[in-house]
Amino acid sequence: MTLERHKYDVLVIGAGGAGLRAAVEARESGLRVAIICKSLFGKAHTVMAEGGAAASMGNVNDKDSWMVHFRDTMRGGKFLNHYRMAELHAKESPDRIWELETWGALFDRTKEGKISQRNFGGHEYPRLAHVGDRTGLELIRTMQQKIVQLQQKDGRETGDMESGIKVFAELTITDILKENGKVSGAYGYWRESGEEVLFEAPAVVIATGGVGKTFKITSNSWEGTGDGHALALKAGANLVDMEFLQFHPTGMVWPPSVRGILVTESVRGEGGVLTNNLGERFMFKYIPDVFKDKYADNEAEADRWYEDQDNNRRPPELLPRDEVARAINSEVKAGRGTEHGGVFLDVSKRLPAEVIKKRLPSMWHQFYELAGVDITKEPMEVGPTCHYVMGGVEVEPDTAAAVGVPGLFAAGEVAGGMHGSNRLGGNSLSDLLVFGRRAGMGAIEYLKKNGTNPVSEAAIKAAAAKIQAPFDRQGGENSYSLHAELQEVTHNLVGIIRTGAELKEAIAKIADIRKRSANVVVTGGRKFNPGFHLAFDLDNMLLVAESTAKSADAREESRGGHTRDDFPGMDSKWRQVNHISSFDGEKVNVRAQALPTMPKELFELFDVHELEKYMTPEEIAKGGSN
């Protein structure tokens, strides 16, 4: 059988927000682009993003600016963010939102007819452009339809709508190929038929999203298996700060089959309060020192904030996600949780039923249909769920180029650095737009200096052998049971609260599962066979889990999405350190690398007393780099 081959200028792996934005950028510059999605076009996990996209347009409060957004982002990330990514993100996100409007997006409006913006955890001003609680769907559809528009234009010019940009749906990439040290393409298989495909492309953008399926309780769909993280590692790229995982504070906890499914932070943004089984609004007890001047310490002030934001501090329910997740975890551990091991989240007492249904329509629907709970009348039960990975491919901020692999780019959740140790809600949708576009631009610039890079027959052979292998084995375990075992290990030992001893145990167990996974057998044929698909996903998840456990073991402090029971404090010395994961073909190795220093003009945006909480006296004395 002859191998199916395609040639493109740019191959984009992943059809979520970042991938589609990168594809649009590359196509508009005249390059030929292929977009790969693992599921059907338009089903990417971006559709699950509910709250909104953060951009300092200042439509609701004109005191907002990129500088305030930058400060909030750095604070949220506990200053471990790559300053340049946070800066680009804060500066460019308004333009990216307005651009979507020119492509047909319909955001909710203010009274003046501008794009409305809502409050969210960690954002000083109302900043999230939104469409009810289905903002991610709006982003995906808008870009999906923008791509159709580009295809229609190509159709008019060439007679073939797919001549310039083509979507390959339900296709999995198993290898990024390199020749002479540079990217040459990628290899994979059609999920439908199991048949193999070669893409020859000198520039590859990875935009594969997250790793949630590595964990047992997650808001992520089956697609979140860390494919891009693993592909990049295997291609010689680095991952940065993989210990930082965001446990979203509010996932559904009941019934068991929906455990982990997201309850949008907008519920709290719209006034939802968190209480324990004693009826106590417990978040007031959990305001950390670094946030004391920004958050109300009593109910009266917190309630007034919804009406008057200039003269009151914010309710503590709107603290960054890591703080709220830890607080809920502590309440449940102390025996003050709900029957099903969560806490109560109640918006019914704050807003009239019709307003709830209008502002939070999909939440109403989700609880009513899946849990039999009417959120306009009764509280929801919620608890932490693995939601987002802050760590990811180490990239050059301006071009999204993966460090160490010419021709490889990464954007969106799969890229690291932007969010530091903890991502603010709403900063993901804007991240995908800003860095998706920049990855497209990075590929365009790269291709000006680098032409095609033919794939060798040896590389094709090696990639093909890997895909066939699980069918030829006998007597090994199946991928479902190994996946379940991995999820138990990560849930129990690499979860929301960690210790050195447990992490070391996890590292050993993950290594053992990885060894056994080399013998995974697949039953049935190649045609749309989920057991076969999971065999590859499993390999990716194992690499990600190894990287996370090793990075977490190395970081002896607690910060953002990494909490060590044995090192409970945040340590300024550790703030100067990024953990870099690389792969030697056998195992993941983690080493420390110095965090880039903020330049003076960004350093000076902060009150020095605030920086003293995060930085060493030497760093403060230096006052940023020149």
């Binding site: 059907l40 089903k43 699950m48 009810g132 923008k146 629907h365 899946l370 749309f528 989920p530 076969f532």
Partner: protein
Amino acid sequence: MARNIKLRIWRGDSTEGGLKDVVVEANEGEVVLDVIHRVQATQMGDLAVRWNCKAGKCGSCSMEINGKPRLACMTQVASFGEEETITVTPLRAFPIIKDLVTDVSFNYKKAMEVPAYEHPANLAPGEARMEQIDVERSQEFRKCIECFLCQDVCHVVRDHEENKKSFAGPRFFIRIAELDMHPLDTLKNRKKTAQEQHGLGMCNITKCCTEVCPEHIKITDNAIIPMKERVADIKYDPIRWLGTKIRKREGL
């Protein structure tokens, strides 16, 4: 409280296939997709089923459950009788690939045929001003999760393969209506092309599409009927008909 339930699953591909009976454990609160996954993990490792979000937001797990087009992730096992056998089959209007997975590429082809949004040439990014009430009409249609249940249930194509060429289906009628009602879109004649090129006239308003829509979009009442009425107005109102002839009125 786990109990055993009877599930009948269609298994096969485009060449052959049939219903297979299985008994599988179901726990309190589970949906049909949960028990299908359990069958996959414990009894049929290669059982093909599409799914993504498991929360009714992505529209991937569309199938027919006891003959009705539904999302498997939003169909509670408890909504069936304790002794009842739950039968799951692939969407009937589309070609089968394997088991519960069908070839829905028809819909993506139709999506490419609907002329895209056209932004006013003189309106720079950030300058748009729209009233909430005006965007809400199109927003209703933009809630669509593209599960294609409406396309599957629509009798114009469900048993009439021959109609597929000239009929875009309810999902794309709401797409056209959404653009037609978009406060900024500048492309004219959307209703007319809906009628002449996308088969709007073939719909005879049985509202089956509205009934199966998991997003409760009023496809027939809010999109199809208003477009049909306006098309009929222009076409059959003698004075307006004359108007189109005399002044070359375009844009219904």
